[in-house]
């Protein structure tokens, strides 16, 4: 695992991966968007508003997935002291916060025409809101602590404590019967919707994942380069003061 601890090696790997990820993102996103608008059937009750689903559901999945990426990276950082893991968790957080905000926002826009309200304090929505707050707290630690090393460890601890919210989000629709509908895709008997619908959903999900991978690698590279510049500056200052 420490093979890619060397930032230069990581950068080389990232540069090799990035064109592929970009290509796959363009492919899946363009087909996914086309399919969401023209191929997938409209819901028999909700007509065209059901198409919000193709943005909303993948965003919601990604909000949890990115949190798990962040928590895993934090765990790796704390336990094995992997030098890039801190940067990985730090780079993932704003993207996760963005997905969570997107899930909340599209949920509100979908809720108004179908449920008649933008927001309801039910288990699913509330726990996703908490997830958003956890992302904010995580990023706040990074931005308020001057010492990078300490900020990394402190935020990792918070990220791990917050993992407890993820199963709560997952099972909230089973535990509390609020407005939010129950599971309709990950069911034992298979998805309860036409195949064009869930295929589109999965393609959009992959598109969102490639988007995450792209942003993630970019942010990692930026973080590494920023560190390099900082190190270079310090060396310059040390040289000049000699």
């Amino acid at each position: 695992m420490h093979k890619y601890a060397n930032p230069a090696q990581f950068n080389r790997l990232a540069d090799r991966l990035l064109p592929w990820i970009k290509g796959l993102l363009i492919l899946t996103l363009s087909y996914g968007l086309y399919s969401s608008i023209f191929i997938a059937p409209e819901d028999y009750q909700q007509s065209a508003t059901s198409r919000i689903m193709f943005i909303h559901v993948p965003s919601a999945w990604m909000s949890m997935l990115v949190y798990m990426v962040m928590a895993t990276a934090s765990f790796t950082a704390l336990v094995w002291k992997h030098p890039l893991a801190y940067l990985g968790a730090k780079s993932a957080a704003p993207i996760g916060a963005l997905f969570t905000a997107a899930a909340l926002l599209t949920g509100a826009l979908w809720g108004k025409p179908t449920w008649g309200t933008y927001w309801m304090w039910d288990g699913r929505m509330t726990s996703v809101l908490v997830l958003f707050f956890l992302y904010l707290g995580y990023m706040a630690i990074w931005s308020t602590m001057d010492d990078e090393e300490k900020a990394g460890k402190a935020s990792s601890i918070l990220a791990l404590v917050g993992v407890i919210n993820i199963p709560i989000i997952k099972f909230s629709v089973d535990w509390w019967n609020g407005l939010h509908q129950g599971a309709s895709i990950m069911k034992a008997k298979g998805p309860s919707m036409p195949s064009e619908m869930w295929v589109t959903l999965f393609i959009m999900f992959f598109a969102f994942q490639f988007y995450f991978a792209l942003m993630f690698l970019w942010r990692m590279k930026t973080e590494i380069n920023a560190k390099k510049i900082a190190a270079y500056r310090q060396a310059r200052i040390a040289e000049e003061s000699r």
Binding site: L134, L136, G137, A140, I141, T144, M145, D147, G162
Partner: protein
């Protein structure tokens, strides 16, 4: 010379924190005053309609208890950290975990238990029905230790930050939500004459889980701050 027993060290830390909390400028009286004054502001803001006040009473008492506890949290480790006492405590035979549990427990007893004692008074001011008083006290007793223990995580994480009070609130308040939900729902069930034991047991579970997780996370954070 024989080293003092663990329970002796534990009780010394506990007593010391208690003395500090109730001495001049300590957090005990301040937190309690904040709890009473801030809670009595709501009727001025939302009007004196007894039915309305009764509806919101539980939530206000619970939220105010949570905020009053938060007030004293940033001093949980801060003062001892600054003058080096914390480091001394941590190398004592009781260990870091022992220090964390002693201090969190002292925070609960000094900053939150007084609020529980005064909660019935607020209940009267908010026209809480008679059958709900027991549930209010019970819910606070069962749920509020979680506030101190979860708070310990935030207090230790923000130790290395100058003026970390706002950051502390940002980190801790989301983690308080489960306690608040189940704590308030116990009393709401009692008001409408329903069985509240399921909610009470979940509330107890939240407290117990926080008592397990918080010392582990706080320990990592304290070691980090003292590095």
């Amino acid at each position: 010379m024989t080293s003092p027993s663990l329970s002796y060290i534990f009780s010394m830390i506990f007593k010391r924190d208690t003395k500090l909390a109730w001495s001049q400028g300590g957090s005990g009286t301040l937190g309690l005053s904040f709890f009473l004054i801030a809670s009595s502001l709501f009727p001025f803001g939302i009007g004196a309609d007894p039915n309305l006040l009764q509806d919101v009473s539980v939530s206000i008492i619970w939220i105010m208890a949570l905020l009053a506890g938060l007030l004293s949290l940033d001093r949980l480790y801060q003062v001892d950290f600054e003058d080096g006492t914390l480091e001394e405590m941590m190398i004592s035979p009781i260990g870091v975990t022992g220090v964390i549990i002693a201090k969190s427990l002292a925070h609960w007893v000094n900053s939150i238990v007084p609020l529980i004692l005064f909660a019935p008074l607020l209940g009267v001011l908010y026209f809480l029905p008679d059958q709900a008083f027991g549930a209010l006290i019970l819910s606070l007793l069962v749920g509020s230790p979680a506030l101190s223990f979860i708070g310990s995580i935030g207090a230790s994480l923000t130790l290395a930050v100058k003026r970390g009070g706002v950051l502390l609130a940002l980190i801790i308040l989301p983690l308080y939500i489960p306690t608040l939900i189940f704590g308030a729902s116990v009393v709401k069930n009692a008001i409408s004459g329903l069985d509240y034991y399921p909610e009470l047991s979940i509330l107890g579970a939240v407290t117990l889980v926080s008592m397990v997780i918080a010392p582990i996370a706080s320990k990592a954070a304290l070691k980090l701050a003292l590095e």
